[in-house]
Point group: C2
């Protein structure tokens, strides 16, 4: 029991010197990467820079105790920070104690929800956020975040919650661009983009290994931070109008408690749920991808517990919502992190930074942090997914496009909700008008397929219909209409065989329908049979009157049904069968 | 085109003298039955008695033009009247012109919605009202209606929208029961109950035919009306405190228009939709039941058009929402109605009643009408359905029970909404954790079934899994977890065959999952195959990269897959097969 909830009891017993060295190396590299990121994401969330540092200490230690992933790096991430800003921005003004308190309450609520979902094993609920919806949402969030950083890069005052608002606010301000800020922003952005694509190959040519080069290239933001901070100090850029981070309080966070305001909690409930689910989906997919590379297993419900505990930890140490970061976890993994202890060592590094490095941050230009964010989030935007999804499934495309449009045009929460609701509605619409095939025997086999797609043998007077959907209330009447029409169209039909191989459920509405079909076909002189009824469906039908009233039989296989209803034709195809079976048939696509 | 929307053009051309006589006889009997019912349901809806008469004239004529059912009798019915009272009662006080105007607006909106659904062929939307939900709702509505009539039967002042409210209001009033009213109510109720079960057999013994006896027994309410009206007049019961119907305006309704109040319409939109859908579901099931008995076809979308037009007709002639009545349609059918013209003749009879009979209604006690309602609706209550549904399906039972409890305890609209939402949620929950079976070959056949339920042959190293659900976002990750666990548990597995006979869709999220499964199984040295992939699913997979990346093959049948992956075992069962196929196998349940 305890070991289920505390994976550290497992890996901790086998911890040795070599693991320690690997974890320490990874922790140093992740810490270097995390310092500018944590500051930047705190500013993105509308919070003071130090809150980003606070959210990178306690949550990491706690995740190390509860997490089942060996490589996941938790902390502030871009999308959750944007969602925090959207949720808290509606309740309080940036810079007020109420704003910081609401962010803490959001982390606290989100932590409670994740923890509850983990303990109650409700992780499957996150699946209702379909892949196209989450992918569309992340792309849209990336675009929104990049747009929200433009004012910092240009040194203008502008803002807004949606893309139209942001653009309408930025465009008129273009005349007042602060050129020194623009220079800092352009340098930082250019350097980061260059280091992304070119620094790795350069380091490799200089003799570094593939992995080491990749990992070191990821720490480029720290170089940008150092260079622009030095420039801001040496050239006194503040006088020229470049916004600096300024005073950052020194020292570890004091313990905090979320404000005990039930009205506030009620208003934060939906945003907290959405942040929890989006964060969890991202976390679990990163964790599973990395675990699979080393043949490790992730316990999805335990990840909920760990992420929930980490958020509670963030809430009681003055932080804001945290989750697993994709880029950061990949760096951690590539740098050799072997256990969650690497996260705890990263936390120690961040604590040292909070204690000793904050004075150095005074001269850090905000434009540099904005550049860090823009370059990081543009990697999230994948509009090519729209095209790929369109070619695969129109319904999935509609859900994805709706998520993107609503997220950009209305807001992040309505965007996710619209995507989920539309996905579900399209699913229900599709299953309410199921695909149905008239089937015949594939010659030389006991297999029955669609007469429209395969060269198959059918028998006059016997209509075999395969229903490609569970029978439940939205489509219960559909089958009735279909069968009455079929019988009315072909008066020679004497037997109808419903092939139930794809029917995974028959609910009470569909049972009512089947009873009506049976009775009306009987009146019309047509016998109703079933074939290939699955065990769970059969169990339930046996508890009803339907099988007693059924005019025909229930056959184990469609082949049995045809053999019984028309031995003549079946014998002929059996002759084929006997000739045929001595040679294996080729695989058929 | 015109014939699609006007079925009268079809049956009208073949109309002859015999049909005319049949229709006239049916119309006389339905008119006698309809007069007390229409008055009673108007009072139930909180409207003046004459509104019931008005709603039984124009709508019937209009339905005769547009309806595709030969026997359906439309007009005021109990459940729609209760729903009207619930919807309008929240907006205006009973007896005010605003109340009557809102009822007209409700009929108008409901008519527009039905018409739109019919023209757009959206009739399938009504299927989302599952059978257990509608059945539970009708039972609960019956109980609510009966309880709402108790004050009229007892001669006390009481009222309420929910069962607890009604009981809390009636119980303290029991000390003030008006005994003469109670006497009238008890006599009428007793006579109606007696005539329901005993009058038919009595008439049969007196020499009448089965059908004629049944039809005449249905006109008993008119006898009760006549007897109690005479008693109220002769004994001057009004002086003793018996409430009478009183002055009923004489003459046909003046043309009316719904109030042009957008705010009112917005507040009536949801009730109008629910009345439309509930009324339509009841109408279509009565119409289909009766049509099947004479091998006629009903066009469900045309019924929407006809019902919509009838409600618009009710709205412009001072009425309220109408729909097809069950008992009334059965009487119409049994009395020999051959075409919708019977309805038009009934309308003529109701118009005559409005012109000449209203003075006779002055002395009609309201308790008699209440007794008519109570006896009619108690036939709607079917609590035995709860037990039957429980034994068939717990999920359907939950939806039904929730509908009943919420309808009785909160109100009619929340009741329906709760039922529909719960049905959908339970469906999604079920499909999010699908049934999955490991399958093996049934000896002597090419058929593969669950190893836990059938004595089947499996092959070491090959794991065949049948997934009993479409693969879509709520269950996409489920299959991943299942397969990784299965491979981790049995290291001897070299091939996994996913039998897709029950997979009716693979959406983009599931495709992503399948790609991940394929890649991770490849890393683990396991080959992934598919079998029995349906045409529509295959079409879509071919538009993705999945089939190119798939490590294994896609087999037409599961038997082909096993024959390819393990010819040895398959040959052995083929020998069985050859011996076996010369004799037909018995049907197997």
């Amino acid at each position: 029991m305890l070991r289920r909830y505390l994976p550290i009891l497992d890996w901790g017993r086998r911890y040795d010197r070599e693991t320690l060295v690997n974890d320490l190396v990874a922790a140093v590299i992740v810490t270097i990467m995390l310092i500018p990121q944590s500051l930047a994401y705190a500013l993105l969330a509308g919070l003071p820079a130090e809150v980003g540092l606070y959210a990178s200490i306690a949550p990491l230690v706690i995740y190390a105790l509860f997490g089942s992933s060996r490589a996941l790096a938790v902390g502030p991430v871009a999308v959750a920070s944007l969602m925090t800003a959207a949720a808290v921005g509606q309740l309080a003004a940036v810079g007020t104690p109420e704003y910081a308190g609401a962010a803490i309450a959001l982390a606290f609520l989100s932590g409670l929800m994740l923890l509850a979902m983990g303990v109650l094993r409700l992780g499957f609920l996150a699946n209702f956020l379909s892949h196209p919806v989450i992918s569309g949402f992340i792309s849209a969030a990336g675009i929104l975040i990049a747009a929200s950083q433009l004012p910092h890069l240009l040194g203008v005052r502008a803002g807004g919650q949606t893309l139209p608002e942001l653009l309408a606010s930025i465009l008129p301000a273009l005349g007042h661009v602060n050129l020194p800020t623009l220079a800092v922003g352009a340098f930082a952005t250019g350097f980061l983009v260059w280091s992304r694509s070119r620094l790795g190959p350069l380091l490799r040519r200089a003799g570094l290994g593939e992995k080491a080069a990749g990992v070191i290239a990821r720490t480029a933001p720290v170089v940008a931070v150092a260079a622009t901070t030095l420039a801001a100090w040496g050239l006194d850029l503040a006088v020229l109008g470049v916004a600096l981070v300024g005073e950052v309080p020194r020292g570890l966070p004091a313990p905090t408690l979320p404000p005990l305001d039930l009205d506030l909690w009620a208003r934060l409930a939906v945003p907290a749920l959405l942040i929890s689910v989006v964060g969890y989906v991202e976390t679990i997919s990163v964790a599973q991808t990395l675990a699979a590379k080393r043949r490790q297993r992730i316990d999805p419900d335990q990840e909920l517990v760990a992420l929930g505990a980490a958020n509670l930890g963030s809430a009681v140490s003055g932080g804001f919502p945290v989750t697993g970061g994709f880029a950061r976890s990949v760096v951690n993994f590539d740098a050799g992190a072997a256990t969650p202890a690497a996260g705890a060592f990263t936390a120690a590094g961040m604590a040292l930074a909070t204690l000793y490095l904050t004075p150095l941050l005074y001269f850090l230009p905000k434009a540099t942090l904005a550049a860090t964010i823009v370059v990081a989030v543009l990697g999230l935007v994948d509009l090519g997914a729209l095209r790929r999804t369109w070619s695969y499934s129109r319904a999935d495309f509609a859900a994805m496009a709706a998520t993107i449009v609503v997220t950009l045009g209305v807001g992040v929460e309505p965007g996710i909700v619209a995507g989920v609701v539309l996905s579900l509605a399209l699913h229900l619409w599709r299953t309410s008008r199921p695909h149905v095939a008239v089937v015949g025997q594939v010659p030389g086999t006991e297999h029955f397929r669609n007469v429209k797609r395969h060269a198959v043998v059918t028998v006059p007077g016997v209509l075999s219909i395969r229903v490609d959907e569970s029978l439940y209330f939205p489509n219960a009447r559909f089958l009735e209409d279909l069968l009455y029409d079929a019988v009315a169209r072909d008066p020679s039909v004497r037997h109808i065989v419903l092939m139930f191989s794809a029917v995974n459920e028959v609910d009470a509405s569909a049972l009512e329908s089947l009873e009506a079909i049976n009775a009306r076909l009987r009146d019309a002189g047509v016998t109703l049979h079933l074939s290939e009824v699955k065990g769970p469906v059969m169990d339930r039908l046996e508890r009803s009157h339907f099988l007693k009233d059924l005019t025909g039989e229930v056959f184990l296989t469609q082949f049995d049904a045809m053999e019984r209803l028309d031995p003549g034709t079946t014998r002929a195809t059996l002759a084929d069968l006997r000739r045929d079976t001595l040679l294996p048939r080729p695989a058929t696509r």
